[in-house]
Symmetry: C2
């Protein structure tokens, strides 16, 4: 089973003075962060990365995304580019999410071979921490995952903590061709 | 300081019945292994990888290579493609080499800022073990480094065991463009 961890693209900065569609300030910093969208350059880069992944025939049985806008927009671009037929949203992929909670929800399903190549779209520092936990069973913040970057993990037996091998860590510049 | 670990390209298989230029069998399996050269496809792939690295402006102040033929040939192609002005050979990069011995030889020089981007061309499982030692201080054989693949490490302070961050792990297919 292959698991790809994909960080969302470049998003607009957090602005505590931002107002919503009704001209009212967003209620909390968290709500604000959840609504940050990709910038124009961010969308373009994610699309270029997606096109290159398609060229390399790296596709997914399923994409699971964080519900935050910048992650959903990233996942939507991957879907537009036909990298996966299926998209799901998981609360566990939020910045506050925990790997253990996601595993509890997903490991039975994945270990039953219902899906063999899954991409998670989410946030840092979560994704690189999850990668280290899945590989080594502990997290030391030693993996640098850039926006639109990808971590590839391979599970030869079960999807569980400490069971993964690292197959790739691709900064987006290696995927921007031409 | 940036350190790139590059595995040699695809080489001819070890053949205990191989004979040397004089029609005599090579003396030992070790001697034989040391003389294995890149295949035609191996040379082509390394050249493609080198061209792509050049396109991405990833160049090195210095390339240090294992003395084994397949590694030297790989390093020579990187030099031909102008990825570095300097090439040195180190016995520590042989399959029997030890990271600690290489560090003793090189760390003073690198920590003196005489070189800031260095590529090592060598073998598996050594290079991925060295990467894990440099990042985490221990090796668990969890990093998959393919032939012509690249590991990128970043040292923000000193070049020493446990001090690195992982910036990339690039299988060659991501570098073969067009």
């Amino acid at each position: 089973m292959y698991l790809y961890l994909i960080r969302h693209g470049i998003a607009v900065d957090l602005d505590p003075l931002a107002v919503d569609a009704n001209g009212l300030p967003f209620g909390t910093a968290i709500a604000n962060d959840e609504l940050r969208s990709l910038t124009k350059i961010g969308r373009k880069k994610v699309a270029q990365v997606a096109d290159r992944l398609g060229e390399l025939e790296l596709t997914f049985d399923l994409i699971i995304t964080s519900p935050l806008v910048r992650a959903r927009q990233t996942a939507d671009i991957l879907l537009d580019r036909h990298l996966s037929p299926n998209l799901e949203v998981s609360e566990h992929l939020k910045p506050s999410g925990k790997l253990e909670s996601w595993l509890m929800e997903w490991e039975t399903r994945v270990n039953d071979n219902l899906v063999s190549t899954v991409a998670l779209v989410g946030h840092e520092p979560n994704l690189s921490e999850w990668a280290e936990l899945l590989i080594y069973g502990r997290s030391e913040n030693k993996i640098i995952l850039k926006k639109s970057g990808i971590i590839g993990l391979k599970f030869t037996d079960k999807l569980e903590i400490g069971a993964a091998q690292l197959t790739c860590l691709i900064p987006p510049k290696y995927l921007l061709v031409g």
